[in-house]
């Protein structure tokens, strides 16, 4: 793990997506320090790692991304969570934001877009 990097917990049921995310963030100021494939695991890892940012998929078996978000906000009202999902229906975007997500990035995403959003969320204080 590199010193001074922004520590990210990624929650997505797709192993391929997690792998691509790590590649995307390689050589940036961000580092994926934890990756899990379910919301339930995400909550456990969040307590364990205390990450700077959490990236959440929405459509997952079991606890979905929005339910996970609600639980995270309950644990830490200041959690910096960003939804990263292909499910960009207007209602889902709005529900995520209302429930505490700081932003929403749609798959497939461009590397530059993801990094810009993450930087912005990080700097929002």
């Amino acid at each position: 793990m590199s010193e001074g990097k922004v520590r990210i917990l990624a929650v997505d049921d797709s192993l391929v997506t997690l792998k691509i995310l790590k590649k995307t963030l390689k050589d940036t100021e961000f580092e994926v320090v934890g990756e899990v494939t379910s919301g339930e695991e995400g909550l456990v890892k969040f307590d364990e790692l205390k990450p700077d940012l959490v990236l959440l998929d929405i459509i997952m078996p079991g606890m979905d991304g929005i339910q996970t978000l609600e639980n995270l906000v309950e644990k830490d009202p200041n959690v910096k969570a960003v939804m990263v999902s292909s499910m960009g229906a207007k209602e889902k975007v709005m529900e995520s934001l209302e429930k505490g997500a700081k932003n929403f990035v749609m798959k497939p995403y461009e590397k530059g877009t993801l990094i810009e959003v993450l930087k912005k969320v990080l700097n929002e204080g």
């Binding site: 391929v16 292909s86 960009g88 798959k107 461009e110």
Partner: protein
């Protein structure tokens, strides 16, 4: 690039804050008026008649005005008058953002141009691949997004070879990746394909060569289906058709594909690129309109 609504686009680009977007959407909702409400206000229809039209809409997939005319509840002149009022009272999200002071008119023009440019994203070939199909709005949207994402993510340019409406023939190949959706329409989206196109999609989506259909390959193609269905849901939401999704799955036989009982419409389209062929099907119920 993905299919996103204008507010999502602005948010990603950092042009507006999430609080501003939520406020503008609330504002927009408060000034957008449904035709039934206008008819009620004008005294042309009673609540019971409006409810009757809504039920008919769910059954027939017709527009509100169309049914009102068929049932002689509104005259063509009355409908015309209501449509004009509705059009004048309807504001776009962009206008709502300007009216609320979150964007200037100049900003709006710039952002709309960029948004339209990004969302255009369909090549002529991808459009041609699906333009002559008669599948209804739901199926058309699925097929449109599939063709676009096959081109964009898999570098596979497809053309339709044939189509059919037989629910028993939605799984002609070895691998069947499906995802269920539910809400204003319930149904299942299915991509049926053999080893070769399966591995092509898996490799392209994962950004690495995959040689066999293993769990990683399956995960990759399921993610492709998930992106197609998610982007389709986004596009449908812009038409006020709301659907939620279940996770995608891979199975090898027709009997294992989960299809909602009320999904009674099928469109299956065989698509072919220079090197591969596959079939995309959508089995769904007629959409309920608000």
């Amino acid at each position: 690039m993905s299919v996103k609504f204008f507010g999502q686009f602005l948010l990603e680009r950092g042009r507006i804050l999430k609080e501003e977007l939520m406020d503008a959407l609330d504002f927009q909702k408060s000034v957008n008026v449904k035709l039934g409400t206008l008819a009620l206000d004008a005294g042309y229809l009673k609540a019971e008649q409006i409810e009757g039209i809504h039920s008919e809409q769910q059954r027939t997939d017709k527009m509100f005005g169309e049914i009102a005319l068929e049932q002689n509840l509104l005259s063509p002149e009355q409908l015309e008058e209501l449509l004009v009022i509705q059009k004048n009272e309807r504001i776009t999200l962009g206008e709502a953002l300007v009216q609320k002071g979150y964007l200037t008119l100049g900003d709006l023009e710039v952002e709309l141009t960029a948004y339209k440019e990004e969302q255009k994203g369909y090549t002529v070939q991808a459009r041609q691949a699906i333009e002559n199909l008669q599948g209804g709005q739901i199926a058309d949207t699925f097929l449109d997004v599939t063709a676009k994402l096959l081109l964009r993510l898999v570098d596979m340019e497809v053309q339709p070879i044939e189509s059919h409406n037989d629910k028993e023939r939605i799984a002609p190949f070895m691998w069947n990746v499906y995802q269920q959706f539910f809400g204003d329409t319930d149904g299942t989206y299915i991509i049926s394909l053999s080893d070769e196109p399966f591995l092509k999609i898996a490799s392209q989506v994962a950004h690495e060569k995959i040689w066999e259909v293993n769990d990683f390959a399956k995960d990759s193609v399921m993610e492709f289906a998930n992106i197609v269905v998610g982007n389709t849901a986004s596009k449908l939401s812009q038409e006020d058709i709301r659907v939620d999704l279940k996770p995608s799955k891979v199975v090898t036989s027709l009997g294992n594909i989960e299809i909602p009982e009320n999904a009674d419409q099928t469109i299956a389209v065989s698509l072919a690129s220079q090197s591969y062929s596959l079939q995309v099907s959508v089995v769904y119920s007629p959409p309920q309109k608000s």
